[in-house]
């Protein structure tokens, strides 16, 4: 928790200072070329941009603690930044969870099989494929998927989260889940179709990374003495795989999943932009363009908190799977 507070404070200083060093600024963004000298001065004063920067920072901090991050100036002018964030956050979470699920469900079995059949065609294809997955720009991949599967073939929607002709009831803000909860199956199915391509694009890097870690980790574990012991006991292949190989091989994978949330958040900016996904990543992209300081600040700080929290969760789950850490913590 202390860790979390520290990260947030340091990051808020950095982001606050850095945004204000960017050329342009919200005034030019808001007024464009049409602004007269007077209107510019007026707006600058109204936005509090004339005060010394540390005064601005502490004013910001004081309000931020109460949840008030100011009013959006660019993404959705006039709307409180916090409200805008809360509206859009479920969309990004839904997308990220879908992406990480695709990565976990696909990459762990593939990584395991590649390791078991080391040097086989699946292994070679996986190693090359994951290399491509890691190095291909998400923006490009997202665009390719959209171009071929949506625009050319028309199999899936080109963007957004729900078709406009569907009048779905909102419960959680996770559209697929909402559809399931309210038993509006067509809404759920429609939301799922919207989710598929952006989630695939966003999954590419975590998929490739988890595949590689799983493969390497399974290769290591297969050489361990305790796997030989398990084989000397004549255990079934399934038990050797699940209890003796995978349970140990998953330890590094769990850590990786935590670290991948960072990549997920930056990937969301690109994916959401390509697929007009109304999440915080898209807000961040628009916010940068229009120098919307309040929105940028709330999104970046929340993203950092989410990152720290996920990794905290990873540490906790690590202790659940690895008894050696559990005992060490009990003792200390």
């Amino acid at each position: 928790m202390l860790q979390l507070a520290l990260v947030v404070v340091v990051l808020s200083v950095l982001i606050f200072g850095w945004l204000r060093m960017l050329p342009g600024g919200p005034v030019s963004a808001l007024l464009g070329d049409r602004g007269t000298a007077e209107s510019r001065a007026e707006l600058t004063e109204a936005l509090g941009l004339n005060d010394p920067i540390f005064v601005q920072y502490f004013a910001f901090l004081g309000r931020a603690i109460t949840g008030d991050f100011g009013t959006s100036t660019g993404v959705s002018p006039g709307k409180p930044a916090m409200e805008l964030f809360l509206e859009r956050f479920p969309a990004t979470i839904e997308l990220s969870i879908a992406a990480i699920l695709i990565a976990l469900i696909g990459a762990i079995p593939l990584g395991y099989l590649a390791a078991r059949r080391r040097g086989g065609w699946l292994d070679n294809a996986g190693v090359v494929g994951s290399m491509i997955g890691i190095s291909i720009p998400i923006f490009f991949l997202a665009f390719l998927l959209k171009y071929f599967l949506s625009i050319k073939l028309g199999w899936l929607p080109t963007g957004g989260r729900q078709s406009p002709d569907i009048d779905a009831t909102r419960v959680t803000g996770f559209f697929v889940l909402d559809g399931l909860l309210t038993r509006e199956w067509d809404a759920a199915w429609d939301a799922l179709k919207h989710l598929l391509l952006p989630a695939l694009a966003l999954a590419s890097i975590p998929f490739a990374v988890i595949f590689r870690i799983t493969r390497a980790s399974v290769l290591d574990v297969m050489d361990e003495d305790y796997v030989r012991t398990a084989r000397s006991k004549g255990l079934t292949r399934r038990i050797i795989r699940d209890r003796h190989i995978l349970r140990n091989a998953m330890l590094p994978v769990v850590t990786t999943v935590g670290l991948q949330t960072g990549a997920l958040l930056s990937g969301a900016v690109l994916t959401e932009t390509v697929f007009s996904w109304q999440g915080v990543g898209q807000a961040l992209a628009i916010g940068f363009e229009r120098k919307d300081f309040p929105v940028l600040q709330v999104v970046i700080i929340a993203a950092a908190m989410a990152y720290v929290l996920v990794n905290l969760l990873v540490d906790l789950s690590y202790a659940v799977i690895d008894p050696r850490i559990r005992t060490a913590q009990k003792v200390s």
Binding site: R228, S232, R243, N248, P323
Partner: protein, 333 residues
Amino acid sequence: MGMALLEVRDLSVVFRRRGEEPTIAVDNISFDVEPGQTVGLVGESGCGKSVTSLAIMGLLPSRGAEVSGSVTFEGKELLGLSQRQLDERRGRDLGMVFQDPLSSLNPVVPIGVQIAEVLERHRKLSRKDANAEAAELLNRVGIPDPNRRLDEYPHQLSGGMRQRALIAIALACRPRLLIADEPTTALDVTIQAQILSLLAELVSGTDTALIMITHDLGVVAGLCDEVNVMYGGRIVERAQRHALFAEPRHPYTHGLLASIPRLDAPRGEKLVPIRGSVVDNIAWSRGCAFAPRCPNQLEQCWTDPPELVEDRGGMLRCHNPVEVAPLAAEGAR
């Protein structure tokens, strides 16, 4: 005499790796194990003991290890069986205890599960019955408070306890053959004797046969009926235990005996290590692999590989064996 429990015939294991000379780890070895018998496999590190045991268990890596010859267990050939067929026998008819008890136990699975899973697999016990039996097994191998230990993980046990747990696993289904590969080497000296007497106690009076693998003739002394001495992947001498200690015939065996402390040795007798090391070996195809280190070497030893032949009730592979029994010689002086 009927069929032996285990018959190893002309067993060879060659490791081949791309871009490297093949390593002949085990070179045409043959030996028998009778039901209930304890057979020693002795030799310096690297002479092929572990590879022999892994070949018998079918645990060598499927790639890169070339196994030939024959291993029959209860009259049935084991080499060439599929892993699935072997899995019916491993853990049930054949058990194995490994050298390093810490790395040989799964660090993230409770001890109880690691014992119970063998019982569930081969004796088809329910989880509950298997747990009760696992506690009973821990008790038998001398682990106090077994019910609490079942839920503990390997890192919470001492080295000796871990080895006891591994022994419990290997003996859980009362196998006909137990292979113990240097089961005391990784343990404290004080614990070593306890583990050895535990093994002796567990197999004596049962028809479980034991192959005891060690580099330490001292371990063999209290335990084995028959001893095979290996050098450079081959058996160089085989004898009943008392014959081997009283009258070692092979210069290598003789050297091994002279290099271990003995309670019955005359005061002041110095321990004489065997000179040189295995890196000096010449290939068996050229002569006697031990020749560069052998005090008894003849010219013939460098050009003429000795055969394993019958000798005084045992087997011997040497052109110029040790003639005088060391103890008798000492006594005569």
